[in-house]
Amino acid sequence: MNYHSPASFAEASALAADATGITRFLAGGTDVLVQLRADIVTPDNLIDIKKIGGVRDITRNADGGWTLGVAVTGAEMSEHPELGRDWPGLVEAMDLIGSTQVQGRATLAGNLCNASPAADSVPAMFAAGVTVTVTGLGGDRVVAVEDIPTAPGRTSLGKGELISAVHVPARGQNAGDAYLRFIPRTEMDIAVVGCGVNLRLEGDTITEARVSLGAVAPTVLLVEDCANAIIGTTLDQAALEALASAASAACNPIDDKRGTIAFRTEVAGVLARRAAKIAYARAKGEQA
């Protein structure tokens, strides 16, 4: 295995484009090193992107949105004084991943590119409408996060392409997000079901919504039927029931010892209801 630590994304892209065999990019390494050790994936070339300038920066843009470097860790997101005020659901979702030790290394871009359907930060990013800059030999393009994972462990990134920045939209007024997951314990586990909700209000009425589900299909899902079930409502009982039904209907989960199909399908509806209530309360400026 060759270890590279390029000084720019263009150089990283060129290295990957020229490489033969298996190439992996190394950000926090909390998945790459586990796969390396377990002999699941032994890269011929490992490209460490942490020596590239700006990869640890969290920057507020002129429009109120955020740009996060690809090596920003979960701990750095949680410690940031303002990011979590704008996007508590996104920051809490990232914070649910692994231990304190893992939080010191793990990154949003890594969680996205690992392409696990159960990744906690990914449904929150889907709901928030996060986009990423993808750098390749032909230059940069901006891609919605929901267009990155294509199957468990697979992404739409081509040879020589890598994520070079994560863009979180401006929060704007009267809006809130939330992410909840079910695990059979309180810490150190992988989602059996996860659900992200992001919405905006006009008065008491929901005018915009994005709802995502994790661990209930081969990829994280952005569920339009869930959004439609609550847009135009005040999140009353009927809307919550319609939301839960739409969430359950979108599920296509695996059946394993951690959760049966029936259980995951039911819990998706329950989490959607609860996450929507939290996001709604946050949009109203209430504590939740």
Binding site: Y3, Q101, R105
Partner: protein
């Protein structure tokens, strides 16, 4: 396969080693630098027995390559005591018998030290969540938590 030359700082001392690109920081600490305090429990970031801090940040040294440590500031359990004088956490762990087989202890100590540096007055809940990534199969955790809470109280009084 060529080895990588790494220059880094461990417990305040500048050190250099040559490592294979596949070697983890844990491998390098133990096999290149003979610092065997950090233990390999799982090797996959679940158990925390290999906990060290890198640039002040608590990490699993099994989830980081030795090559990534270039230019870093690494602190391990070997750096906790001041000569013969044990760190307050170490003394309290002995007093509370907060260990049995001891394999998890270096990682727990490093993690607890990182907690108290960040938050000198943690609640029991905060302490339990902070240490959730440090598995102990002997003590049932209660003695560990009590030792950390008592150390925190004592260190607050002393400061």
């Amino acid at each position: 396969m060529s080895k990588i030359h790494v220059s880094t700082t461990v417990n305040g001392d500048t050190v250099e080693y040559l490592c294979d690109p596949r070697e983890t920081l844990l491998d390098c600490l133990r096999d290149r630098l003979n610092l065997t305090g950090a233990k390999e429990g799982c090797g996959t970031g679940d158990c925390g027995a290999c906990s060290v801090t890198v640039d002040g940040r608590l990490v699993c040294s099994c989830l980081m390559l030795g090559a990534e440590a270039e230019g870093g500031q690494i602190e391990t359990v070997e750096g906790m005591a001041d000569g013969e004088e044990l760190h307050p956490l170490q003394k309290k762990f002995i007093e509370y018998a907060a260990l049995q087989c001891g394999v998890c202890t270096p990682g727990v100590l490093v993690a607890a030290k990182a907690l108290l540096e960040k938050n000198p007055d943690p609640t029991e809940e905060e302490t339990r969540y902070w240490l959730a990534g440090n598995l102990c199969r002997c003590t049932g955790y209660d003695k560990i938590i009590r030792a950390v809470m008592d150390t925190a109280a004592e260190m607050r009084e002393a400061s």
